[in-house]
Symmetry: C2
Subunit: 332 residues, 2 copies
């Protein structure tokens, strides 16, 4: 049987277009956004993401207003992962039938609320019928100065790996929803909210770009194990995560105990946290904490970059490869 | 019951974002592409389109290579409808399951063949699982000079309405495929090809923009009745089509006779011809024919713009309103 992993498809397409050079093209396939020159030192960012009912969202627990917010946030997160400022959005709606109109207004108001928060304007789109279930494709554009942009490819040996928040919250929230236990406890609402309504870290992203302190960046959409593997692959280096250093909330640990799963699994393999993951030379730790403070974000050093290939998890004396163990759409 | 027509949804969204002004934004929702300033007099075009299995295409008769070509062409057509040159593409793939890999390579090679023809580069995208059936969202960017762009909104009373080819071919081809008769006659292959593999009229579009002769332009994606209605609405005027002047091929007329349908219905209400529809002052007829000759295209005057509202069809002494009678995804 032919392997059909998401990253295999993307690698195949990437290889087909590798040689092609467009005028002004800075970065094609292989980062959070494509990048091309706008004018002078200003670069233009563009990204597309699709959310499918039954795959990315479940309407039985996802209020349409929050779904609209999430659809905007996950795309804005791709812009922030390159230290960019989001500018314009295009929204393509595929709707199953007229019944979808019941929640379309709520979806659109949620979508709009996030756009307004970040000064983004909806400038186009299309509306089609879907065979079954709703689907949204969103194209988001942004801008960033050439001396501020952060690619996935800039990590260097001995850099420290940082994450901008506590990991696994969205995965825990999803599990609680899937188990019908989302409403059970007040102190689980932060986890549920992390799944339903993630926040793009635009302020932190742009400040990191401006600071010149970070060497590479990506957003955590498919889980640390997979997103760090993307960053390492593009940078041509390896990464090592120290399990003891992974930031996890008390609520996450309590929920994991309740559902009898490993909290570390959510933190490493759970997707959709939409927190920034970045690397920086080890001497920048203090300066980075000042940047995080300015952005009102928490950042945590979780590991180290070294010469090699792959992503590894250190647990006590155990060293395990975890490359690409996050979410993949086509894993069995 | 709430009405839920495609254009109602779009109008509703358009109204929500009407007041918003982004820096450099020239045109938001309401044309073939959104437009914003790139640099100096250079404008940037962007459009998104989604194709859904079972709605836009049927894999039982659509070879994946041609489907890939069509996915690229229909988006490039939106760029050409504003007299632009296509530059970069993003492709979002939603695939049902591993079996889709069987035809994915063919789809991608077809997609690429059209991109290469027009010098377009694929710079990004994403790959997700779909619940049922394949779906593609394509975002296409382009460029055009500020003094060359053609909006939908430029038509003026007494302008002549032109179409750039014989109408209804794609609708006829679709009907032949749906009736399982596509392979029946050699002289139907042009019709079938028009449905399976439409061509974007980029050369004609850019030459029309350069000539300064046309006042407004749109591409025929949902049928003359609907696309002319869009153009008239954006221009704040009305349009009148002379049924006798609508260009139809002998093959189309023969196929209509065979399937016992009206050829005029395909020409007016059949979608997906992806030919350019434009308006121009009446004195430009000869000059326009020279432009068409240079672009190796055929153009035909089919009607006239006048003060008022709506789109009308003149058949002998009969005058019938046909506004928006083309394809709509949510008409019952």
């Amino acid at each position: 049987m032919r392997t059909f992993l998401e990253r295999d498809i993307i690698s195949g397409i990437q290889a087909q277009y590798e040689g092609q050079k467009g005028e002004g093209l800075i970065k094609g396939i292989g980062d959070d956004c494509a990048v091309f020159r706008k004018e002078g030192n200003d670069l233009f960012l563009i990204t597309i993401d699709t959310l499918v009912e039954g795959v990315h969202f479940d309407l039985s627990w996802h209020p349409p207003h929050l779904l609209g917010r999430k659809a905007a946030s996950v795309n804005i997160s791709d812009i922030s992962a390159m230290a960019g400022t989001p500018r314009f959005a295009l929204l393509s709606l595929a709707l199953p039938d007229p019944s979808a109109a019941n929640w379309l207004d709520d979806f659109l108001s949620g979508f709009r609320s996030v756009l307004e928060e970040f000064g983004v304007i909806l400038i186009g789109g299309d509306t089609v019928k879907s065979g079954r279930g709703a689907m949204f494709s969103i194209c988001m554009t942004g801008e960033v100065g050439e001396n501020r942009i952060l690619f996935r490819s800039g990590a260097r040996p001995n850099d420290i790996i940082w994450v901008a928040g506590r990991l696994g919250e969205a995965g825990a929230g999803l599990a609680l929803c899937q188990n019908g236990r989302a409403g059970e406890r007040n102190d689980w609402q932060g986890l549920v909210r992390a799944h339903l309504d993630p926040k793009a870290q635009v302020r932190l992203g742009t400040l990191l770009g401006k600071s010149g302190l970070a060497s590479a960046m990506i957003d955590l959409s498919d889980g640390l194990a997979t997103d760090l593997a993307h960053l390492c692959k593009e940078s041509g280096i390896a990464g090592e995560i120290d399990a003891d250093r992974i930031p996890m909330s008390a609520e996450l640990i309590a929920a994991a105990r309740e559902l009898q799963v490993s909290p570390l699994d959510w933190a490493i393999r759970g997707g959709e946290d939409y927190l920034l993951l970045f690397t920086a030379a080890s001497e920048h730790g203090e300066a980075l904490q000042l940047v995080a403070k300015e952005a009102k974000a928490e950042i945590f050093p979780v590991g180290r970059i070294f010469v090699g290939k792959g992503v590894f998890l250190l647990t006590g004396k155990n060293r395990e490869e975890i490359s690409y163990q996050g979410f993949d759409h086509f894993r069995g």
